[in-house]
């Protein structure tokens, strides 16, 4: 029971530091690019073209970014569905990172949408096309963002109880507490749906996708499994970085047990992935002398190395190896998605895409803003478990 007693508490401390100032400056640069984009159009700031209609604002910020933001999903799955109570202290910090990751992915989508003023059509009967995989992804992600903010609300409801809100907040808290189980259930269902659908999005692109990544009906399963792997990895990386940055004790014993899940799932994924390549006759493509092949191997090695690193208890209990394995898994999941959507996408000769500087500024800016907001909020709100339990009570 000892871990459960570490109730979340605000970290406190100064908000304006060299790190937060730096992150703020990058976020500001992003704001400027955004203004230019909305005045002069996508072409003014991006290298998007008809051969590569999806750039990093979609492929990184949404397809990859939302998978990186699966920490909240996987921890909720573990704690509330599989009832592994010992991981409870990791839930709220993971949820905070997730709610930001997803919310900013939504910002990126609006930036990327050419006719953003029609975005509401996706929720409107008569316009909505239920056959579209993107319809499933978009509605599901939107709903999930809402659900996550509700899930996270107990952490901030007290803080915003000012003025007339003071009267209704206690009632709101009661309702939220009553319906929390439903939010948690949705918080597991929805990512299961849209993370798998992000893979299904490649189905309609058919043989424009290199056979190394056009896995047909295995796509949803591959993307779902790696999303869960990424979710766990992000939790490991986040917990380690938070411990280092805020000089708190390491959570290695807890994370080592988590690593056992990761290992089993990783093994299952690799069997599926390699089996799929064999089934689709794509193995010869893995040995061509091309750029695609190079990035394919970067991806595969990033998945295979953690399988070795985490195979034995000694490796899982070593904070350094655990961290390395988690970072490699993040790279692997990153590459799988980048490869599927950009490296392995070929719609005809003569098309090239590499993100422009403004595109990169927006992507880096969104990440910076996310980290900035995370730092500020863990200092102000009860997110991280208190190190010394209950002395103030």
């Amino acid at each position: 029971m000892a871990e459960h007693a570490h109730a979340p508490a605000p970290l406190g401390g100064k908000l304006i530091t060299p790190v937060t100032l730096c992150l703020g400056a990058i976020s500001l640069a992003m704001g400027i690019v955004m203004i230019v984009r909305f005045i002069f159009g996508l072409g003014a700031v991006t290298n998007l073209n008809d051969g590569y209609p999806f750039g990093i604002w979609i492929v990184y910020d949404v397809v990859i970014g939302s998978a990186f933001a699966c920490g909240g999903y996987t921890m909720a799955l573990l704690v509330y569905i599989f009832n592994k109570g010992e991981y409870h202290p990791l839930v709220r910090p993971a949820l905070l990172a997730s709610v930001f990751g997803y919310s900013l992915a939504a910002v990126s989508v609006i930036m990327d949408m050419g006719r953003y003023w029609n975005a509401w059509h996706i929720f409107w009967p008569g316009y909505a096309n239920v056959n579209s995989v993107l319809f499933e992804v978009a509605t599901c992600i939107s709903l999930y963002i809402l659900v996550m903010w509700i899930e996270f609300s107990p952490a901030f409801l007290d803080k915003i109880a000012v003025g007339f809100l003071k009267k209704i907040i206690p009632d709101v808290k009661k309702i939220v507490a009553k319906l929390m189980f439903l939010c948690i259930a949705l918080g597991v269902l929805l990512p299961t749906m849209h993370q798998s659908s992000l893979g299904s999005m490649l189905l309609i692109m058919g043989n424009q996708i290199n056979p190394l990544w056009q896995s047909g009906y295995l796509l949803p399963l591959e993307y779902l499994m790696t999303a869960v792997l990424l979710g766990f990895s992000v939790v490991v990386v986040e917990a380690t970085l938070v411990s280092l940055a805020f000089k708190r004790p390491m959570e290695t014993p807890l994370l080592a047990r988590l690593a056992k899940f990761i290992w089993g799932l990783l093994l299952a994924y690799l069997v599926l992935r390699i089996g799929g390549l064999v089934m689709h006759g794509a193995i010869p493509n893995a040995f061509h002398f091309t750029l695609e092949t190079f990035w394919f191997w970067v991806e595969m090695i990033s998945f295979i190395l953690p399988l070795i690193l985490l195979a034995k208890p000694a490796g899982r209990n070593n904070a350094g190896k655990l961290f390395a394995a988690a970072v490699l898994l993040m790279l692997g999941g990153f590459m799988l998605r980048l490869n599927g959507f950009l490296v392995g996408y070929e719609t005809g000769d003569g098309w090239h895409y590499f993100p422009s500087l403004p595109e990169l500024i927006v992507t880096v800016g969104l990440i910076s803003f996310e980290i900035l907001a995370y730092i500020v909020l863990v200092k102000l709100l009860p997110v991280l478990p208190a190190v010394k339990p209950a002395t103030s009570h």
Partner: protein
């Protein structure tokens, strides 16, 4: 059975139940409407005059495009279809380019524009129904009032047809809509209307296929008559010589069929038209989506199991959180 195992078992059970209640829902590749309209493009008749490109621009109110590296922006010179160009004629060149419609040391023309697929990927991909296929005529049309500019259609189309005006503040998709806006005036596709050789012919796809079969059945080098403009419209036919066709009517089977069909003397992969399977990607995708989400049965059953597990498990944490760290 302890509680943890009970939850695992109930989750597994509900997953099986969900899979059982919702069998695989195969969505077959769609078949062509009997009243489908389209184009027959005969590469061997095309002389590369590009009258169709100019007429298309005029009929659709599209601005001219100048070569990026030219110092003489005097006339429209699109190299490919784009946000401002719905059709172009491209040329295949090989070796000495001595003979028309020969693969070796020859050249050939090819039209690029929307194929009006029988089972289009763009229509399946579009999340807001901005791409639509007319159930009768089969024309694949675009509505900018519905479009949210996500460009999934651009990514999905196997022919690379929908294009986007990235350089505009308020951009849109551009694609050939078979000039259906001209039908009310009794007119038809401008590209076919102006084609001087009948290389681009407008008509019912059924009739166009018959015409294609007739040409393929003729002996190369013999005389025949070629219709121009609209098949079944006023007679504008002229006598000509039959070319040597390869044994392939492109668009007959590809992707479940297209409503622009093509004849050529040079293999189509040389002309920029890839080999495509007979099954459409839309059918593949929608089979998956309908199986997983048909009637929302599977998600709802899964949600029920999750909610049940979450309700049982959260009670414990809420009690702990309310008590704070008092029992540390």
């Amino acid at each position: 059975m302890d509680r943890r195992n009970f939850f695992k078992a109930s989750l597994a059970g509900s997953a099986t139940l969900a899979a059982g209640t919702c069998p695989v829902q195969a969505r077959e590749t769609r078949t062509i409407s009997p009243d489908a309209l389209g184009l027959l493009y005969d590469s061997t008749l095309c002389i590369g005059c590009k009258a169709c490109v100019a007429a298309c621009k005029e009929a659709n109110g599209m601005p001219p495009e100048y070569l990026a590296n030219t110092e003489q922006p005097y006339w429209d010179m699109p190299l490919d279809i784009s946000g401002r160009t719905l059709t172009v004629i491209k040329v295949y060149r090989n070796g000495t380019m001595h003979k028309k419609d020969e693969e070796q040391n020859g050249y050939a023309f090819i039209k690029k524009s929307c194929m009006h697929c029988v089972d289009p990927s763009c229509v399946s991909a579009c999340p807001v129904s901005a791409m639509a296929k007319d159930p009768k005529t089969g024309v694949v049309s675009y509505s900018k009032d519905a479009c949210m500019g996500c460009r999934y259609c651009v990514a999905a189309c196997p022919f690379g047809v929908p294009r986007f005006t990235y350089d505009q503040t308020f951009p849109q998709i551009s694609k050939c809509q078979l000039c259906q806006h001209r039908w009310k005036d009794g007119k038809y596709s401008a590209c076919a209307e102006v084609c001087p050789t009948g290389a681009t012919l407008f008509g019912r796809v059924d009739d166009l296929k018959k015409e294609a079969a007739r040409r393929r059945g003729l002996k190369p080098g013999t005389q025949t008559t070629f219709p121009r403009g609209q098949l079944g419209g006023p007679d504008q036919s002229y006598p000509g010589v039959v070319a040597k066709y390869i044994d392939h009517l492109y668009g007959e089977k590809e992707f479940g069929g297209t409503q622009m069909i093509m004849l050529s003397g040079v293999p189509f992969d040389k002309l920029g038209y890839a080999d495509l399977p007979p099954r459409s990607d839309a059918a593949t995708t929608e089979s998956l989506q309908h199986t997983l989400y048909g009637g929302m049965v599977m998600p709802l059953v899964f949600l029920g199991a999750l909610a049940y597990a979450a309700k049982r498990n959260t009670r414990q944490y809420q009690e702990e959180e309310e008590n704070g760290g008092n029992h540390g």
